[in-house]
Symmetry: C2
Subunit: 416 residues, 2 copies
């Protein structure tokens, strides 16, 4: 059993020019990782003959599997198909069956196939076509000696469908790979360097099969443990032991492992305790509601939310007292307390949460500069508040406010 | 004047394993592009000596500027600093001034510097330190013959600060670059291949200075025009002429150019017509509110929103009739009509919009499968509705519903 290595090639000027964020290689990496296939390198090159051909050659020398995304559209700036035909010294062939499928699909929408789309049914002879449910460009699977070259469109939906429907099942059949187990331990509310100091002894004594990485983010640090070897049971046991030790040492900062995100963790805690939540958001403008409702099944514990951007709505719909806003302002402890308590009552939830702050870039004053943010949590008995002074841009201020308040919910629920 | 080329190197197992999305190289690409520096290639390699050293060598052979992100933290898996010291054959030096700044910064937060953080003040002798306002790891700037190597932390905030504060100003001083002008023309509601067919003649007759690319997304296609040459005025005129032609041919699908996003465009139209908007979201759960309020200044035209996830809240707070939901269900034309009309009145807005659908993966039925989505727009005179059948995952169903409804708002406002 030998390691299987992959190299990913993303094609596109738009990625190099910073106009499109490459999420494809991120998704593909995660999928290959689950199969125990190691991505050794990722390369992004321009829609340019020389750069693409050089990337194909380097990747072939470097890896067993070469996965190419992009450059497959019907338009003239798309070079992947002709260049792969050239690379594999292959003529072109019209696939009548693919043409038929395209015609039918267009007919269903009451449209006729145009010349550009017809060309999509023509592929290099030496490749196997890969079905594309969501678009018109088929993928391509080439084999050369022991190496596999795969080309997929750059549109994420189309690429993902091909991975799930064709590529991953084929890989499972082709390759026997070493066992690789990852576990991500997610913390919130502690700085990377403090965490690292607390965990120094533990880290020095990790078993040799386990590798550790720190992945810092906005108010969150993730610890990734990777075990590699032959014996899955043994590796899983090693990982479990080390995760237990982590909980012993820094458990109060850990909100979950692996695919958990903070709102999902809160959903879990709410479900466990049979409680519901509602939110009244001013500065976060719906973002917390979005984070909560992005988890399927959230209707079990999420009652609903309101984002009364203007003060008259905070007063007339939510029921915050006019005098409170007049006396203390919308961004004040008194206002977030009433917002949390009122949304709890009005929406019939067990827990009400609220935010009010100045996300920026405008709206700051000397007394309340941009980044000044109040949050509150009301559970019917107590109402807790927190004041933050964030110094990021608008987007990050909204995100870190949401993370911080969700962490307060987590802490409160965990101690209940 | 010669072209200046850059190569970007991202360091990190977490990127190769698909656990962290690399947004840094995206940001850096866009910034370099504005300076007329061409990113030729991006490479991501593991936290591994051989892979990193090889990447440094290849990049040096390939480009004038090499920008490295990641691998600079205080922890043991961070290799960038020692390897760059080795690559440049440089000893280490403790920077007392950096140590002082770190001590002060920690003291302000009532904390003491730990050993790991102290080590951050030690840097290779041959580099110039780059100030890091938001973190403890300084960046590094190395020069070797005509080449520049820059190393920055992988934390986006820290990297962005260094780019803005040090790197970009230094580049502006160092390099004279060819003129490169980009214009992004953004369309919504038309498929890539149909757009390409309509624009075929126009594309064939583009001036030789201009290059075109199609960038497809969820219900949106962007057209990127890039002009390169010497004479900025001439190039800008060429671009303007071609954008005018695009508006003539496919103007009704174009919602804006360059940095505009769809919610910002709607903000512009609302401001222009002195109108306000409010939203009642069920299946989109706060996402539309978030998109609108992500734009600073949105309080001018956004009154607020509600996401009454449960039916009793749709009835008791928003005022949808109980009989409507009983008779037709929450996901129905009748319900979204009442939601849009009621939120308009209740929130005192000129325009009310609403969504109700089954985002999935659960909750579908034979009559109303996952993806069934109703949206409505009420302006006090008419109430328009649309029914969609999306077939994506939960996240994309939420996103495309939001895009589609915002496009309806755009069309309605544009025709007013």
């Amino acid at each position: 059993m030998k390691d299987i290595f992959a190299e990913l090639i993303s094609i596109g000027d738009e990625i190099l020019y910073g106009q499109t964020l490459d999420t494809n290689s991120h998704y593909i990496s995660a999928e290959l990782d689950k199969l125990g296939i190691r991505v050794k390198r990722k390369v992004t090159v321009a829609d340019n003959r020389d750069a693409m051909m050089r990337a194909f050659e380097e990747a072939e020398a470097n890896a067993d599997i070469i996965i190419i995304t992009g450059g497959l559209g019907p338009t003239k700036d798309d070079l992947t198909k002709p260049l792969l035909a050239e690379y594999f010294d292959s003529g072109m062939k019209l696939h009548e069956d693919i043409l038929e499928v395209l015609k039918e699909r267009f007919a269903k929408r009451g449209r006729e196939l145009n010349e550009l789309n017809k060309g999509q049914a023509e592929l290099p002879e030496k490749c196997l076509p890969v079905d594309n449910k969501y678009g018109t460009a088929p993928g391509m699977w080439f084999e050369k000696d022991d190496k596999v070259f795969i080309s997929m469109p750059g549109v994420p939906k189309e690429m993902k469908y091909m991975m799930e429907d064709t590529i991953i099942p084929k890989f499972k059949e082709f390759y026997k790979t070493p066992v690789l187990i990852h576990e991500m331990v997610k913390t919130v509310g502690i700085q990377e360097s403090i965490l690292a100091e607390r965990l120094e002894d533990w880290e020095d004594n990790l078993p040799k099969e386990i590798k550790l990485a720190y992945l810092p983010g906005l108010n969150q640090v993730k610890l990734r443990l990777t075990a590699s070897g032959q014996d899955e049971k043994h590796l899983q046991k090693l990982i479990d032991q080390e995760v237990d030790k982590l909980y012993e040492q820094v458990g109060k900062y850990i909100y979950g492992t692996d695919d958990t995100n903070l709102p999902a963790k809160i959903g879990e805690l709410l479900t466990e305790k049979d409680l519901t939540i509602a939110c009244a958001e001013s500065c976060t403008g719906g973002y917390i509601a979005h984070l909560i409702t992005s988890n399927s099944g959230s209707s079990k514990y999420y009652r609903g939310g309101i984002n009364p951007y203007h003060n008259d709505l905070k007063i007339n719909i939510l029921g915050v007292k006019k005098e409170t806003i007049q006396q203390y302002g919308a961004v004040s402890e008194q206002t977030v307390i009433e917002m949390a308590e009122r949304v709890r009552e009005l929406f019939g939830a067990d827990i009400g949460i609220s935010t009010s702050g100045i996300a920026g870039p405008g709206g700051g004053s000397e007394e309340k500069p941009v980044g000044t943010t109040w949050v509150a949590l009301a559970d019917g008995k107590n109402t807790q508040t927190k004041l933050y002074h964030f110094q990021f841009d608008r987007e990050s201020n909204i995100e870190i406010t949401s993370n911080s308040l969700l962490n307060l919910v987590r802490q409160t629920l965990s101690s209940k």
